[in-house]
Amino acid sequence: MTDWWGDFEFAEGASRRWRIGPLTLWVTRLAKEWQVAFERAGELDSTVEVTDSSPAPAGLERSRYLFVQGTTLSVSARVADRPVVARPEMPVIVPGGLSATLYVSTPVWVALSAGEPRQRFHELPSWVPSSTWFGENNIEGALYYAERTRARHERGSEVFRTRVTTSVTVNNVERTPLQIERIALPLPSMSVFRDEQGGLWTEHAVVDYVANQDAPVKVERAPLAEIGKTTPVSPARLARDTNVVTRALSAALREVMP
């Protein structure tokens, strides 16, 4: 299965069209110039197509980027530019002393670069998720993207090539059951990997829940081992020195009252 990301050679005047799930993207190379146009429709569309095409339809707004050099366009798959809060559609409860692994998928960001050395000139999400506020109150906190998730506990047979999947293991160290209301994922600190079927993954994340303590997300070095062999696609947006991201999740996990 051909990947939609990687290097693509463009002759002068050539155009290509990408279908990356809900996103349709047209790129045209002219003399010393790149033109980009796009449109989006159907959030859960999972079509992937890369075809030679005519330039973008006339009605679409085009962005023009002037470059002196470069006939190669690098397309890369990146994680969202803000952390994401995933909210299960139905309440998820982890009994005391047990662990659960959930899968959360988020739209992929598409970055275009060209020139020598490579210069990123355009980046856009395949679908723009809703924004949400994540914090103790309406003053302290930060803007996150919101994702409603079915919080699947099995990988499933769907291969996500237009969304990035993150596996999260929640360890409930306490004896009381734990209701997961929201899981905040520090996506900008995570990288993108490709599995053997062409699906996109980030590193595996682990949350150890202890009552009355912060529950930080620990980002592992690689995706979940069960996925099989993976190859790196793009690095994290933010450099991280340790595998612990100190963003507290105490607000995201709530102990179920007996």
């Binding site: 809060v85 723009v128 998720p129 809703s130 924004s131 949400t132 506020w133 309406n138 803007l143």
Partner: protein, 296 residues
């Protein structure tokens, strides 16, 4: 005190005039050199401080640092200049201390503004770059100076507000908090299904990525009016640029969806009733030419 000051200035002028012409030229050249060096050092230092703090500090901190450096260089240059002219700075400062009391009485407004400015810098109800509302004026803060605050209003006018006024009046800081509520008042007909209206409004929030999922949007019944149910639709958006655009977009979407889905809006309705017989009609026309009943 003033007499003593005059005496000192007189002595100093006399000693200056007793000098050789060459010496005066030397002093003049030295003074010019000091002014030139002061100007260069002041400019270089303030621009260096500005450059260093540009990315590391807020606009407000950068402005204060630049001011401190500028006034520091200015005072040092002036003192060096006075020293060159043979003025004893220590004595002058003593006289200035006494003079300050006299000047203070004469310039109460300026002093009040000056002190208010210090309080404003300490309390920081706003910083450079914030959008604030004072009285009937709303604008972006350009500078917090010693005597006044400069604003740029939304219609690009330059507004100077004395610090004293600011200390005394209510200031609404429109951009300090990172998220802001959008409140839209609507009037819905009593014939309309409120659940349907709620679903339409919730759908508008779901479709616009700039409207926040949390804090959750809400639809509340404010009051039951004579001819309509008054409801409040509240939703939240980021307050970091583009809030007014989002609000306008939401209002437009509400109007479009209500029209498209034929939501019955509440409006003043007047029912005109005529009398059934000539006698009743005559009696009614005597009391009031038309009987208007507001139908709920």
């Amino acid at each position: 005190m003033t007499g003593l000051g005059m005496l000192m200035v007189g002595d100093w002028l006399a000693s200056l005039l007793e000098m050789e012409a060459d010496d005066i030229v030397v002093i003049g050249l030295r003074a010019l050199l000091i002014v030139a060096i002061g100007a260069i050092v002041g400019r270089v230092l303030t621009s260096t401080v500005g450059r260093v703090l540009e990315r590391r500090a807020t606009g407000q901190q950068e402005m204060i640092a630049r001011r401190v450096v500028f006034y520091g260089v200015l005072v040092t240059t002036l003192m060096t200049l006075l020293d060159t002219f043979g003025v004893e700075v220590g004595v002058l400062l003593g006289a200035a201390g006494i003079l300050t009391v006299a000047v203070g009485f004469a310039s109460q407004t300026s002093a009040s503004n000056l002190i208010s400015g210090l309080f404003l810098l300490g309390e920081q109800p706003f910083v450079v770059g914030d959008v604030i509302k004072i009285g009937s004026y709303t604008g972006e803060v350009l500078a917090v100076d010693m005597l006044s605050v400069k604003l740029r209003t939304f219609d690009n006018l330059y507004l100077r507000v004395p610090n004293e006024t600011l200390i005394k009046s209510e200031i609404l800081n429109m951009t300090r908090n990172p998220i802001r509520r959008i409140s839209i008042d609507l009037r819905i007909s009593y014939d309309e299904d409120l659940e349907r209206v709620r679903a339409i409004l919730r759908d508008i929030v779901d479709r616009d990525p700039d409207l926040l999922e949390e804090p959750a949007p809400g639809v509340w019944v404010d009051s039951l009016g004579d001819s309509a149910i008054h409801i409040s639709f509240v939703t939240w958006a980021s307050n970091r640029g583009g809030w007014y655009d989002v609000r306008s977009r939401v209002m437009e979407a509400v109007a479009r969806e209500f029209r498209g889905q034929k939501v019955a809006l509440g409006f003043q309705r007047v029912e005109i009733e005529g009398g059934s017989s000539e006698t009743e009609a005559a009696a009614a026309s005597e009391a009031a030419p038309v009987v208007a009943a507001i139908k709920p």
